[in-house]
Symmetry: C2
Subunit: 312 residues, 2 copies
Amino acid sequence: MQLSGFRGGNGIVRLIGHRGARGVMPENAMEGFRFATGIGVVALEFDVVLTRDRIPVITHNHHLSRAATRTADGNWIKGEEPKVADLTLAQVQELEVGGLDGGSVYGKRFVDQAFMNKVRVPRLADLLDLARRPENSGLHLLLELKSDPEMKDDASERSDVVAIVVAEIRARGLEPRTVLHSFDWDMLDECRAQAPEMPTSYLSKLPENTDDPGEDSSKSVGPDFAAMTVSLPRAVRDAGGQIWCPHVHDVTSALVAEAHSLGLLVCSWTVNEAADIEAMIDAGVDGIVSDYPGRVQRCLLNRGLNWIGSAG
Amino acid sequence: MQLSGFRGGNGIVRLIGHRGARGVMPENAMEGFRFATGIGVVALEFDVVLTRDRIPVITHNHHLSRAATRTADGNWIKGEEPKVADLTLAQVQELEVGGLDGGSVYGKRFVDQAFMNKVRVPRLADLLDLARRPENSGLHLLLELKSDPEMKDDASERSDVVAIVVAEIRARGLEPRTVLHSFDWDMLDECRAQAPEMPTSYLSKLPENTDDPGEDSSKSVGPDFAAMTVSLPRAVRDAGGQIWCPHVHDVTSALVAEAHSLGLLVCSWTVNEAADIEAMIDAGVDGIVSDYPGRVQRCLLNRGLNWIGSAG
């Protein structure tokens, strides 16, 4: 049921709004999620971490970034970046996250992003409530659980994180439209153990790809790719996954075909340049995770494809 | 009062959303106007023409473009482009205008624009109602009156168009936030005669600039620039204008300085590339009319400027 939102074929390639629509709107913010759903995006990817008072909130890095965080007086935060896990929800929400510092490396990556005031880190509950609105009854969620590298080996912490997040989803009856997604394969084991009704999606980025500037690395929480003795799709399948989400540079037609032969869906990220969008369509992926949903819509329509409708 | 929304100086350069935010959202549509105001744009430029039943609607060309217009079944319109003046409001609103044909010359100019369903040509009244909402109390309107070249010499038609549009503005008490804007200097004479309480804004594009593909030309309705014996700012001033809106390629620091010395404000259009945005800031314009408001916000902030606040 959840997978219908991520399955391609039959003229369909799914469009998944990355952190909403990071190229256009502040990332992981309600304003960006509303923008994306407003333009007809029916699948959203976003990132969840817990505050000190154990509230799941939507933000990418474990530490709030100097490039994207202002104090209530409008100034960029200075000094050490505060860790979300050390702040209460109230403390997190004192800060503004509606724009990027154009002088930062991260800011220079997204020069068209709107700059807004009064934007706060949302609770997971806020996005789930948006998904429950009648006009969003077709919205699917690709909920990324971020693993804190400092806690990576703490099974009890992992169990708590999954329990808290799953409880929020279940409390709103959104399990039928939510896929649990992570770079951390141990986290996904825990998800399946606690919430077998929700499929799991395996993010991967091979070690030869560099980290994205200004973003937490996935390298310390993912599996040891060098030690893998089977193909990545096979490893995802063996682990129990239903979606494989490879980095755009790691996708080949052969790997997509192999994944499909194993019964997996393939959604690649973060696909922003038109040439990359075309390459992903050519490779046969089921879905494209992008910061620029309008651009993906155009590329699909130019090829007689769509992102909405029944897949093969 | 109206001019406060378009006056720069003192660290302020105004950001005017061109047809909403054409680079990101369908142009001249409520969805795009709401997007623009939602990201903090407080001045909107848009185009008004009349339907056959004499309702002012917001669309740029006199004929609905094949590149941007679909029938209710989702297909691009075929054959001759229908003229808005030949259709009733109901007929105009049967058509969908929420996306561009990527195969068209016009569509290729705006590759990131969202593709939406159920978007209709709005009435002027719809946008005026949006401007009246409490959260938009600071919104200023740069209302462009489009002159039909076929009716250019019809003074009675011109008088009717102005009367109908002005009545809509006055009915909602929005004269204090509206500037009347046109390429047609005769039209602006008529505006001043009928509605002296609203300032007039003079669009210009020198003949050496090519027309924008897919858009009605301004050349047949504007003045004879070759016959002008004074500078363009002086001509605008002599005609009775308060804002001069030159094409981005026609702007020089000297002309901006001359305009300012004559008491005019200068807002240039359509300023989309970062280098052009920088050049307009350097030239000292009061306002920048852009399809990419997020990009302008970034350029301004990078230079310690803002688009909101009190100007000099």
